[in-house]
Amino acid sequence: MFLINCPYCGERDQHEFKAGGEAHIERPKQPTELSDDEWAEYLFMRKNIKGVQFERWNHAHGCRKWFNMVRDTSNDEIKLIYKMGEKPPSE
């Protein structure tokens, strides 16, 4: 059970949150102009990293806000949490 520091509410138990998959996959602005392959890349392809991963999380049973998390999946260490729209750290 992680202890997650919601950027709007503070530290809360993991059971208040919902994981939302890989972060920083932007929905294409003009889907109709994409080929099947390009659309499939957006729709289906997700990384599954053992190590540092960028993820989306939602404080579903709290403020309902979405935010980003950098987590090391090998040891569950949460390295950073930042708001939607903020730039991901380069490292």
């Binding site: 138990d13 109709t32 099947d36 989306r56 979405w66």
Partner: protein, 1001 residues
């Protein structure tokens, strides 16, 4: 008690307080403070169970939670019975009844014992290899396995006890109240840290308190006397909470730990009543200090499992702590000095110690000298090669070890004894540390795995960190505690400790015998009956990974997770395969550390509190009118309302007919309702629904279909435009929360530029849906001021009105195909609205109908139910709902996916109607559909998704998904059932009132 098996008054045993109990139906007594194990041993009962596979007689082996053998069924044939309880942990109380497990008809004569005789035929992997084929025999095998396997019986009746959950937040959690844990907790609390100290036992002090080593002194006092004073002082410390009988079951990430606090198991039956039995503590600690101690290792030699063969430390604890002698003639067998402490303790109490067998060739520590001075014979460089005695140890055979430790030489020496205390050294209890994600490293010199990399704010102290001697414990603790807690000093920085140093070491994981390994039974995992021979066989058969060997031989897979023998299993694998133990790694220790009852895990969430029920404001009325409820998500929805003597079928048929012939009323309060506001609300709806919304006039309603980005139907419902920038969306009952979540996701992450606000208002409004040809008249009686003409209030429109001064929203929308109105009112007025409708509808025989009739009515109209006729693989085109996809909109969620090659396939499953040749035959939902009967295997074309007998059409109707069904209109298909084949033909899914004339009737 014929023999004198109690040695002296122990301060932990109250000899003035006799406690009687029953074991295997026979009455015994012990004293307050005894465990079931100590009381049985005091009564000379060593045989307490049978092993799992070979049904060999087994006795008490340990004095703690690591016990592999002495598993008992407590209070059998009562509703409080519990299996797999360790006799070493059961505190006896008046009236306790316990019995042996895994034996039939009884522990002394056990039919399964024949497995021991045929054991050459039960090698590792036996079950896998033998019972795999022929497959048709499985049912026969299963019968025998079920009858001979199993550890105890689960309770048959409802658990009468109450369990509890509690959240605890603390600065420091200390697990284990031995000397290290006590000192750590005391110093943490004294430095203003809110501290919780827990221990699984009922007394504090761990091993130090009874071990009382002869040559260990703290401040010139015996270590146990010194520690007792420390324990006395704990009471007065602020910020410190101490919980005994509390066992940490799991250590999760971010210092989240689960512990079970046992509150009444040790009490008499009458005192248990009305109290919470166990409490699951959910602890979030800023820092965790693990002081979980070490477990003594057995030695692995031929026939090392007979009743009377115990851990050396257990023999000592039974004598020192419980005042119980485990045998009249005791021998110790060891590879280290600690067995000498046990020997001296027995000798000093006048108990005969026959000999000590030591695999080392010498030791010059003070304790060994002291033992030799008593005249106890020590066999250096010797090993036990065999034992005898079926239900109790009678004799051991001893031989000299070769220099390399691989074989034995000389002649057998026979020693008669009834108790053998063995010590193979100590294994740090790193279970919780590894559960938390900690990494171990192997200490080659001491042959132990030790914590190396901590995943969170925690440290391991004392013997679980490899500090086995008191001077080491105190010295390292003083330093580590200051670093970890960031404190200046501890109150034991400068105390003096004298110890007796052990220098001589020798370790042999599998001790040799004069017999070939194939003819020996050196047990590694007592509970699962896995021997060293099995492990070697697994390696010969090609297993290499420790995880595979574990599963193949079942080593470490019992309820004790192999706490005693896992290290030996690893050692034997490493030796046999020629790899280093450090490279081999360990198997994973999983929670719980000791088994938990389900009651503890669920706590108060049982019975009606098992899950949340959501009830509509009209709930009481439904109950008064004899509703049968259906669970829809968490909602209790009215399913049907049987009149006297009516079956479900009869009730649903009556309700469905009434709704079309005169008037019906449905409680639709459970539908999800989302209030949408903001200047971009229309644009937002354009993006989330497949159809266009910008041109929807204020006061109008529209049906919408929502897709996932993959083009599959996700939800549907009617949305009403209440104002320029204000909509009310309805969703399916089950989908409400997910739809809101999905919409929020898009708003916050993809389209933050849109000015839109979403609010769930599902619980704020109650909804009564009145339908049927007389619905208009009923509404007119309730709200006479409202103009109900088609011109003023047409189908798919909305009016805001007042009903007795309470604001109502009335939508003229229909899910049944009948003229109908949905009246939404503030939830607190829901029941009175409903009663008003019923009252006004009386003259029209208004009939309340439930979800089943609602489903039937919409099926007559071919309306889909998301989740029943769709399953996450249906596009709107598959549903033949092409009309709802806007051709003009540039984009909406899922649009692009509708043009993927896969979603455009002609042979996708498509929604069609089905009618049976025989109109009286009603299909089964889920039934499979084929087009050929004389073909095998035959392709499954699809399945029936909805099926009813329509009272309005007087025939059976069904919806189904069929591959390429769109182009099969009129085609004959078959539905093969177990006892017959049903002939059907594909039909238009709109069975009733195809032209929608009734909407305006």
């Amino acid at each position: 008690m014929q023999k004198k098996l109690r040695v002296k008054t122990s301060e932990y045993i109250d000899e003035t307080n006799r406690v009687s109990f029953k074991f295997n139906g026979k009455s015994y007594y012990g004293f307050k403070g005894d465990t079931l194990a100590s009381a049985l041993l005091a009564n000379d009962v060593h045989l307490v169970g049978r092993s799992f596979k070979y049904h060999r007689p087994r006795g008490v082996m340990t004095a703690g939670s690591e016990e592999p053998n002495a598993l008992v069924q407590v209070n059998d044939n009562t509703d409080r019975t519990e299996p797999n309880v360790r006799a070493t942990e059961v505190e006896i109380y008046e009236g306790l009844e316990a019995s042996s497990q895994n034996c039939w008809p009884n522990v002394n004569f056990d039919i399964g014992g024949v497995n021991n005789v045929i054991s050459p035929f039960l090698p590792a992997g036996f079950y896998y290899k033998t019972f795999m084929w022929p497959a048709s025999f499985w049912e026969k095998y299963e019968y025998f396995i079920r009858h001979s396997a199993g550890l105890g019986k689960s309770p048959r009746k409802k658990d009468p006890d109450v369990y509890d959950h509690k959240y605890i937040h603390c600065d420091v959690l200390v697990v284990g109240a031995g000397i290290a844990g006590i000192l750590a907790a005391k110093n943490a609390a004294k430095n203003n840290l809110k501290t919780l100290l827990v221990d699984e036992k009922n007394e504090l002090g761990g091993a130090t308190i009874y071990e009382n080593r002869e040559f260990n002194k703290i401040e010139n006092q015996s270590s146990s006397d010194w520690l007792k004073k420390e324990i006395q002082g704990l009471k007065d410390i602020e910020n410190l909470e101490v919980k005994t009988r509390t066992s940490v079951a799991a250590y999760h990430a971010y210092n989240y730990l689960l512990a079970r606090e046992n509150l009444t198991d040790h009490l008499e039956k009458k005192d248990k009543q009305g109290k919470i039995r166990q409490r699951l503590l959910k602890i979030r600690a800023k820092k965790v200090i693990l002081a979980t101690g070490a477990l003594e290792r057995p030695l692995i030699f031929n026939n090392n499992d007979r009743p009377g063969i115990m851990l050396s430390s257990a023999v000592k604890k039974y004598a020192d702590f419980y005042g119980v002698i485990c045998g009249q003639k005791t021998v110790f067998f060891t590879n280290n000095d600690s067995a000498y402490e046990s020997a001296l303790c027995l000798h000093n109490r006048g108990i005969k110690v026959e000999a000590i067998i030591d695999i080392r060739d010498n030791s010059d520590s003070k304790i060994v000298k002291a033992v030799e001075d008593t005249g106890i014979k020590v066999y250096w460089s010797h090993t036990v090669v065999d034992t005898s005695g079926y239900k109790r140890l009678k004799n051991i055979s001893v031989m000299k070890l070769s220099n390399d430790g691989m074989s034995v030489t000389g002649n057998r020496i026979e020693i008669s004894c009834d108790c053998l205390g063995m010590s193979g050294g100590w294994t740090p209890a790193v279970h919780l540390f590894t559960q938390s994600g900690g990494k171990l490293s192997f200490d080659e010199e001491n042959k132990v795995f030790l914590p190396s990399k901590y995943p969170s704010e925690q440290i391991s102290i004392g013997s679980c960190n490899g500090d086995f001697k008191i001077n080491q414990i105190i010295k390292n603790l003083s330093k580590n505690l200051k670093d970890f807690l960031k404190i200046e000093q501890t109150d034991f920085d400068n105390i003096s400790v004298d110890i007796d140093d052990e220098k001589s070491k020798r370790n042999i994981w599998l001790l040799p015998s004069d017999k070939p390994i194939g003819k020996t039974k050196p047990f590694v995992d007592y509970q699962n009956d896995a021997t060293a021979k099995d492990i070697k066989l697994a390696l010969r058969e090609g297993f290499r990974s420790i995880e595979h060997v574990k599963r193949y031989t079942t080593t470490g897979m019992g309820t004790d997770q192999g706490k005693l023998g896992n290290m030996h299993a690893l050692g034997i694998i490493a030796d046999t395969a020629g790899v280093k133990m450090g490279d081999l790694g360990t198997t994973t220790f999983r929670p719980p550390y000791t088994p938990l009852t389900f009651g503890t895990i669920v706590g108060r969430n049982v019975g009606e509190y098992f899950d949340i029920f959501r009830r509509t404001p009209m709930n009481d009325w439904h109950i008064q009118n004899k509703v049968e409820f259906e669970n829809v998500g968490q909602w209790k929805r009215g399913w049907y309302y049987p009149a006297d003597g009516e079956s479900m079928h009869q009730a649903v048929q009556r309700e469905s007919k009434a709704a079309r012939e005169s008037a019906g009323i449905l409680d639709a309060s459970t539908l999800g309702k989302i209030d949408i506001q903001g200047s971009d609300a229309s644009e937002f709806l354009n993006r989330v629904y497949t159809n266009a919304w910008s041109k929807l006039a204020i006061g109008k309603c529209r049906y919408g279909l929502m897709l996932n980005e993959d083009g599959m139907v996700y939800d549907d419902g009617v949305t009403t435009r209440l104002g320029e920038n204000h909509y009310l969306m309805t969703t399916t009952t089950g989908g409400a929360a997910n739809v809101l979540g999905k919409l929020e996701d898009y708003l916050q992450t993809e389209w933050p530029e849109l000015n839109v606000y979403l609010t769930s208002v599902t619980d704020h409004y109650a909804t009564a849906s009145v339908c049927g040809p007389n619905s208009k008249k009923i509404l007119n009686k309730i709200i006479p001021d409202l103009d109900l003409s088609d011109e003023s209030f047409p189908h798919m429109s909305f009016k805001e009105v007042k009903l007795n001064n309470v604001k109502c929203r009335v939508m003229r929308i229909s899910f049944t195909g009948e003229h109908s109105y949905e009246i939404n009112i503030q939830a607190s007025y829901g029941k009175s609205l409903w009663e008003k409708c019923i009252e006004a509808g009386k003259e029209f025989n208004i009939t309340p109908y439930g979800t089943e009739a609602m489903h039937l009515l919409r099926a007559e109209k071919g309306f889909i139910i998301v989740g029943q006729d769709t399953d996450g693989t249906m596009t709107p085109i598959d549903l033949q709902m092409d009309w709802i996809i806007s051709k003009k909109k540039y984009d909406f969620i899922g649009k692009r996916s509708l043009y993927r090659s896969d979603t455009m396939r002609e042979d996708r499953k498509q929604l069609v109607g089905l009618v049976t040749d025989d109109p009286k035959v009603v299909l089964e939902e889920g039934a499979q559909i084929v087009s050929e009967l004389n073909q095998s295997p035959v392709e499954m074309l699809g399945h029936v998704t909805s099926s009813y007998y329509s009272p309005n059409l007087k025939k059976s109707i069904a919806l189904a998904v069929v591959k390429g069904g769109k182009n099969m209109m009129g085609k004959k298909l078959f539905i093969p059932m177990e006892d017959k084949t049903i002939n059907v033909s594909v039909a238009n899914p709109v069975f009733f009132d195809e032209k929608n004339k009734r909407l305006n009737a």
